[in-house]
Symmetry: C2
């Protein structure tokens, strides 16, 4: 198992054999370690010294469910710190089968050039592709599918990434070659785009296998693992309603982003929640699917395919975060409008969370009316046209807020909140404030814990626990939705790792891995100038109680600092594992 480096300036590749300890970690561990090694903390995120790391996990490619996520890492143009965003689709499995744990893109093409990076067993080469410049993700995927068939996975950079817009993500194709699984957050699509990369094609169905992949013991463990996940309650809920089922939960808690985070419940929630989406898909038939897998062999199948009124696919998937940020947050209660906005963002290659939050800030500034879907579609059209207004739409809500003089800007470290108002879901608010990833719910979501989310009690500890757990999963390429099924039994995961790679691991390995990732990331950020003083939420969160329940943000700076110290590896529990609760 190797890391593959390609210098975009020259096309030269080098490889590096993984040491034994690196065999059993990848994903976000690999992105953190390689960015720390190669990118000076002072580097301009859109300059030549930044790199993009694509990394799969050590359990990918061998028929385990939900283990093939692709981590994309680099220095973020949104936060100015280290960033990892991961996506489903087929890239993680494909990389593993080629024998590459990571593909690392260094340097850049001369301005204006576009290349495809084509990766197979033998390495990688650059293919100039001026003819693809400016293509939307859907047209790009269609063109490349026609040329390469389905033998490749595509990591696609849309026009937003090419234009260097800080809200641009990277899109990974799913099992149907749909470029719609997004490593969305942090602007890594802009890093790829400004390097001149229009796409990375990764050959599928390579033949490399970890040493233990064909042993009877592993096969049995794999069968048991997949079955455990399949029968878990949350997996079944996800299969039926997808992540959209979360909307009613968060609305109930009074933490659903509504009209630019000015309320926590939305009067139109019933029209855009999981039930409504399920009904719409079932009633329309056609291309619609309530349950769909983004990776081969996934038994959770949380994804969906949403048809328009004519039964033809509008978008896939439509997720909770998008329903909230591009729905309730914009005062929109029409699933077709939200689905169209989502498709537009996907085609441009923009993060729906960041753009939804930005459109909310624009509405607050008077550039749109909440509830006016046509206007929001028009604003995304401006982004497609590359106007100044369009660049504003695609540059993230923090920049938009600064430019427009809006105080109610839902961002931490320059990145938009996920779809959980910190005042109502306080543990996730702690994550937003302290995570080295900036405000990012995937870095430590707490909403499914059985606690009083509006009480400050225990939220700092809960956030820390979830941040460690999520970092560990991200460091193994695991889907977060495995957590409810096997999160309490880390030995199920370490056993699989041991059987595959012949490395003995204790069940404590996961926590140690999660902490190590967070330590590297947090200290990188400190060297980049993101100190503990930046571990905070915007002032409006402290100043405005959140209607209708008037939830108030009451987590102290000292509590946030304590979490940050743990993340940096300088806290009590980080230094002394035996003192951990």
């Amino acid at each position: 198992m190797d890391n593959l480096f390609i210098d975009l300036g020259t096309g030269r590749t080098t490889t590096e054999r993984l040491g034994e300890s690196d065999l059993v970690r990848g994903g976000r561990y690999a992105t953190a370690a390689i960015v720390q090694r190669l990118v000076p903390p002072s580097a301009d995120p859109l300059g030549p010294r930044n790199v993009v790391v694509l990394a799969g996990g050590p359990l990918a490619g061998v028929g385990l469910t939900s283990t093939g996520r692709l981590s994309v890492g680099g220095k973020s143009p949104l936060t100015g710190g280290i960033k990892e965003a991961n996506a489903g689709g087929t890239a993680g499995d494909s990389l593993a089968r080629l024998g590459w744990r990571t593909v690392v893109l260094t340097g850049r093409r001369p301005p204006g050039e576009r290349v495809l990076v084509v990766v197979d067993e033998s390495g990688a080469h650059l293919r100039p592709c001026p003819e693809l410049a400016g293509l939307g993700n859907f047209a790009l995927a269609e063109r490349l599918r026609a040329e390469y068939g389905s033998e490749y996975t595509l990591v696609a950079v849309g026009p937003a990434g090419e234009a260097g817009l800080a809200a641009a993500g990277a899109a990974v194709t799913d099992i149907d070659f749909r470029p719609s699984r997004f490593a969305a957050r942090g602007g890594l699509g802009a890093v790829l785009g400004t390097k001149g990369v229009k796409g990375v094609l990764i050959k599928r169905n390579g033949r490399r296998r970890p040493p233990g992949a064909d042993s009877p013991a592993f096969r049995e463990a794999r069968r048991a693992f997949n079955e455990t996940v399949r029968v878990s309650g949350r997996s079944r809920a996800l299969a039926e309603y997808g992540t959209a089922s979360t909307l009613a939960v968060v609305d109930h808690l009074g933490g659903l982003p509504t009209r630019n985070f000015s309320r926590g419940r939305f009067e139109g929630a019933d029209r855009i929640n999981g039930d409504a989406l399920h009904e719409l898909i079932q009633a329309r038939g056609g291309d619609g699917e309530c349950s769909h897998a983004c990776m081969a062999g996934c038994v959770i199948r949380c994804s969906n395919v949403v048809p328009g009124p004519d039964g033809r696919e509008t978008v896939s998937p439509l997720e909770y975060e998008t329903l909230a940020l591009m729905g309730s947050n914009l005062g929109l209660d029409d699933l077709d409008v939200i689905a169209r906005l989502n498709r537009l963002a996907n085609d441009l290659g923009l993060d729906t969370i960041e753009v939804g939050a930005t459109l909310g800030v624009l509405a607050e500034a008077g550039l749109a009316r909440f509830g006016d879907g046509a206007r929001f579609e028009e604003l995304l059209g401006e982004a497609a046209r590359g106007t100044v207004l369009g660049r504003l739409v695609g540059s993230g809500c923090a920049t938009a807020g600064r430019l427009l003089g809006v105080r109610r800007v839902p961002a931490a470290k320059g990145q938009a909140f996920g779809a959980y108002d910190p005042r109502a879901v306080k543990g996730t608010g702690v994550t937003f404030a302290t995570s080295p990833m900036g405000a990012d719910h995937t870095a430590g979501l707490t909403v499914f814990a059985d606690v009083d989310h509006s009480s400050k009690e225990g939220q700092a500890e809960l956030s820390l626990r979830m941040q460690v757990a999520r970092a560990a999963y991200d460091g193994l390429g695991l889907c977060a939705f495995l957590q409810s099924a096997v999160g309490s039994r880390p030995q199920l995961v370490t056993e699989l790792l041991s059987l595959l790679w012949g490395v003995e691991l204790s069940p404590e390995y996961l926590e140690a891995l999660g902490r190590e990732i967070l330590r590297v990331e947090t200290n990188y950020n400190r060297a980049a100038g993101l100190g503990p003083e930046q571990d905070r939420l915007p002032e409006f969160i402290q100043d405005e109680p959140l209607p209708p329940f008037d939830w108030r943000w009451d987590i102290s700076v000292a509590e946030l600092r304590a979490v940050a110290e743990e993340l940096a590896g300088t806290g009590e529990a980080a230094r002394n594992p035996r003192s951990r609760p």
Copy 2:
């Protein structure tokens, strides 16, 4: 001598008697100390917790030349750190004569409201002024002059400040009630504007006097001081050519910002330098003046009045920084065009340095052609109209660069460079990188030192020395142009302070004062999240040699860190005054 606090929410005022040590310091010392005391480092610069401090110096109002500058301080929306900007005009003298060392504006009006703050001997009161909302600075001054005569000094907030644009400054009226002496930098006009303050009227000609003001010893010292300044060589050069004389110097060094800092010499320099301006003013007659005083009694008279082709005043003053940033930096070699751009910026209340740099970035992004003055006038017109494009023009070059995806952005800590390319004038580059003020030439200009500015030798020490000297002057309300006349004789200043206030001071007082100001500011910034990692210049400065002499930036990070440590008070010389060179 008191500080006067006014709560903008309630209109209530309180006063505070100065302690003995504070009698002999004010200006930037007072802004730093009061911001540190009142503004939490995490405060939103445009939120209710920020304050604006207006502070005069301890030598103001008693007939000394060039001692009546007004410091304006607060937390900056551009840098996110502490900020002081100071201006000439009549405010500093007026405050002193009322017995107020500072006027401190806390809290804010409800959104949309506008007030005038009227200050006299008895205190301050708020006067609602909805009828003045949106008025340009010139119309505002005209209206208030009609009402108040010339009995008041006006600190004016233009439409840019009202709109919260981060490049907005505060304009102080000169002896002719022209609102054109700018506390320009750092966006403090936006802080005033978002608090609802449209202007501060300060009664002139109060009768308060420092205890020693009428002693024969002070009178004699005053006469000698004014005469020393009057006969100094640099004063005479400034009187004849104003600061415009600097243009030829910096062009000669190859450090004149040209077409967005892509060159250091400008082919049109001869058409916009001090000689050209002098000739134009002399040839046209009319309202023109080559030498004009901004404060009563100033013997330097560096200011000028620039007439248009019809002999009527276009702008006063036209300064070197504007000639460079709005001239060569935009490829413009027509003094009339530059003067008109300057007037437009003054009317809006925008910092010409920040806006000039921003227009350069816009041109780099293709939104204007270098040399196309009409287009730049049009872009300032957009700012006046408050469009998205106009807000981009007024939000500072760092935000513009981020939005437009431009890498060549001449800013440090979010604020545009003054008119000295760091690669050619390296000591000033060290100041840009390390000053707690962000990139700000007034915080430590080195260009008049007799050194090789393109060599790195001794530049860090030179910058530090100038930063300390400038902070001391700013802390006393002194004009920087006193430096060449009396800078080498600090005892001339301390003697005046001692005679006026009856406080014994040694000549070392100035250096100690400068260091104390920098220590407070630097440590405030660290608490606000601007650590030493932010003490750097943008990547393009390191990556691109500057034509035509191919000057390279070669000051090391370690040298910058050493300066930052001295500024923070933790360096060797700061801790041990006897070790100072």
